[in-house]
Symmetry: C2
Subunit: 193 residues, 2 copies
Amino acid sequence: MFSETRRPGKGPRQAAEIYRATLDLVVRHGYDGLTIEGVAACAGVNKTTIYRWWPSKDELLCTAFVETDLLKVDVTDTGSLRGDLIAVTHQVIDLLTGEEGSRVTRASLGGLDRPGLAKFVATLCAERLKAERPIFERAVARGEIAPGADPATTVDLLAGAIWYRVLVRQTELPTDFAEQLVDIVLGGLPRSS
Amino acid sequence: MFSETRRPGKGPRQAAEIYRATLDLVVRHGYDGLTIEGVAACAGVNKTTIYRWWPSKDELLCTAFVETDLLKVDVTDTGSLRGDLIAVTHQVIDLLTGEEGSRVTRASLGGLDRPGLAKFVATLCAERLKAERPIFERAVARGEIAPGADPATTVDLLAGAIWYRVLVRQTELPTDFAEQLVDIVLGGLPRSS
């Protein structure tokens, strides 16, 4: 009857150590090298403790990602849509170029052809998009954009440009890359004068 | 003295079969499952023939990608920047959602944390960007955009949005997604009226 003691969304007492070990292992050995036995050994817990909370490594990895501060999104009101979009764009840049974040995201790419991990990454993105909606609601309320402007497409353009440049094209980001991207998305490419 | 008989950029007589086997194997078994021995067996050639032309599997995979029609980019002049950008954006959509292209790109993602494959993907993107430059030169000549408008950033926004939505966020593409993206990049998000 362990269900009595389950704290949904919280995990067991040693949750923090388990999440840390999960991310460490996926970074060091890739998605294929992640095993619940390995996590148990690194976190110093019994593997049955882990299985009680997470029946599969995908579910464990999902929770570890959701709980890590790496993927938290901060949508504090900066006073303008431009400021808000620059702030979240910088957060994506930090995630993909920071030491820990870049190792976690690169390691996860290798698992995107597995349905379990792919579904979880999709869920994580949906959560993140939900968290970013207030940015667009505030902009509509300020009269900056039309109510029909699509938050999902806007986020795809900004986050996608960074993913593509950092992970696929692999060239340096200019220091004002976030500002460049946001200015195009808000005002279009510069016209000839 | 095989250098006398080398045809740089062409490969041996059985090149087409070798490229086909290489892409088939990377799609079926992933980057890790691709071996020169496997390619030789599938293509019906001696493995020394392959090694003579491509000393490593990364170099072989690179050539196979470059030679496949999947990754060719068509920059035919449609008469306007909007038309040209919609056309190349549709080509990225076809690549990432078409049956063969989506399998090849997903399989390659798993190799992006290997320096050899990562470097090659970067080279391929650089080639593609070079092929796309005439689009921007024509637009400047037509007076549609300022000479300072950055082709690389524009391509990052358009291609990145598709990569991000198809591979990371994994949600459906609206049928007019290419038009939506290009209209934002050219004119900015819709303003409140």
